[in-house]
């Protein structure tokens, strides 16, 4: 082991350490920036002039226009998941538990997560692209010099609309996925309808559904803050708009999956502390 090799290795380790440190600092400051951005924007929702009309307009876009795609994907998710569970449970002679297993999985996990991912890709991407285009085309500057608070006018209504719409879309996903599950169990593999519903009603509680709806609202907050932040801070023309959209959607989707795990644990702890589900 020569002295030169040791020096070079030490330098490489130094470089690696500093690069990781810079990335960590950048990540923490980005999360901090986004949090403040979301907080500042939502705070303005309570200030006059009220932007209820804008909130409704964005709810129509995020909620109403996402219903078709959510309904379609959820039915097929329900069908596919039910069939896989059926194949597994058949091995242990427990096919009557397919309904409740799928119901729990859908309402608590897959419903909010898949709804979050789909809506983040569709509405979040559109948000980032729209705001980015407004930024590079000077439309945001125009709003600024017109004396209009851009965060209040453009950001807050989008975030609040996403928070309101996501639980509703999650509920739609849950329902349609269970329609898919019911169709497969009753009409394709021939399980008994009465047992199917009885087992589900014995197992699934209202708080399971609420857990998913709550997660949906959190995912709505997350993707809307991330995507509006990226769009709002777009620089560099058409290329910048593309990058902002891409990063907004990717960060939102990855965050939804990661945060879901931590959220699940926090909810478990809440159940333990409050005695729910005992």
């Amino acid at each position: 082991m020569s002295a030169e090799w040791v020096t070079k290795t030490a330098q490489n380790m130094d470089q690696f350490y500093f690069s990781m440190r810079d990335k960590l600092i950048h990540f923490i400051s980005l999360v901090g920036d986004m949090t403040l951005f979301g907080y500042d924007s939502l705070k303005l929702l309570a200030a006059q002039p009220y932007r209820y009309g804008e909130v409704l307009k964005h709810m129509e876009f995020i909620g109403n226009q996402s219903m078709g795609i959510i309904a379609l994907t959820s039915v097929f998710t329900g069908l596919a998941l039910s069939f896989q569970v059926y194949l597994g449970f058949k091995l242990v002679n427990a096919v009557n538990l397919v309904g409740p297993t799928v119901a729990l999985g859908i309402t608590r996990e897959l419903g909010p997560v898949l709804t979050g991912l789909i809506v983040a890709a569709r509405a979040g991407g559109a948000m980032a692209a729209r705001l980015g285009t407004m930024r590079v085309n000077e439309q945001m500057d125009a709003l600024d010099v017109m004396g209009i608070n851009t965060k209040q006018y453009l950001i807050a209504p989008r975030i609040i609309a996403a928070i309101i719409c996501m639980p509703l879309l999650t509920a739609l996903f849950d329902f349609m996925a269970m329609v898919g599950c019911w169709f497969l169990c009753i009409h394709i593999v021939g399980l008994d309808s009465a047992i199917f519903f009885e087992k589900i009603s014995q197992t699934v509680e209202v708080y399971h559904i609420n857990e998913g709806l709550f997660k949906g609202a959190i995912f709505g907050l997350m993707f809307s803050v991330v995507c509006t932040y990226k769009g709002f801070h777009t620089t560099g023309g058409a290329k910048g708009v593309g990058e902002a959209t891409n990063r907004g959607v990717v960060i939102s989707m990855v965050s939804i999956i990661i945060i879901d795990y931590f959220l699940m644990n926090i909810i478990r702890i809440y159940y333990l502390v409050s005695g729910i589900g005992r």
Partner: protein, 257 residues
Amino acid sequence: MVNTYKGQFSIELTELKKSFDNGKDFILKGLNLKIPRGSLTAIIGFSGTGKSVMLKHILGLYKPTSGRVEILGQDLSQLNENDLTKFRCNYGVLFQSAALFDDMTVLENVCFPLEEHRRHLKKEQVIQIAFNKLNMVGLESKHFEKLPSQISGGMQKRTGLARALALDPEILIYDEPTTGLDPILTEMVDNLILETHKLNQGTTSVMVSHDLAAAFRIADFIVMLDAGKVLLSGTAQDFFKSDIELVKRFVDKGMKH
């Protein structure tokens, strides 16, 4: 037109300095400028001399590293973010790209600032004011219901100007209004600026431009920036008579184009 400010100068910049890298390099290096109320002032200069940065200070979009920005007698540094937002109602800005809201029609674009800041007005009154402003800039009513993407560049500029005029601003700013336009459209926009200024007596108009010929033709006060400072300010005659080498070069090149 309602002009309430009666001071001698609408815009006063004193020892204005701006650095984006904690004082290592200054874009504006102690800029002093006074723009008389009611004048049509052209700000000219080579690229990178600080025109846009200066403009953003006037609009309150940038905070100076040091120095003072006084608009209509109000020191902008004394205003908090909310007050500054409200204060910006005193400005009307025509952007280089017109910056029209692409999801609104021509008429809606002009109505928008009125709906935001003149909430006591009825819908019909707002539309009437918007009609008047669009007529003032010479846009035909058959285009009022079209989207910005459905009208020509010249019409977009006219709409942008009508929108800038909607709130009867004290200060009207034209940010490179003719950059990238063909000669015929350039002349049309220049004439539009001149006519608008004549029609709105008392309004201070500031035009940031590379177009020296237009500046000499329509402006009554010209300011040339160089390296973050005012190199020369005065009338067109002052520029033609100037002995400053850079001014001579700029005038020679500018008048040839």
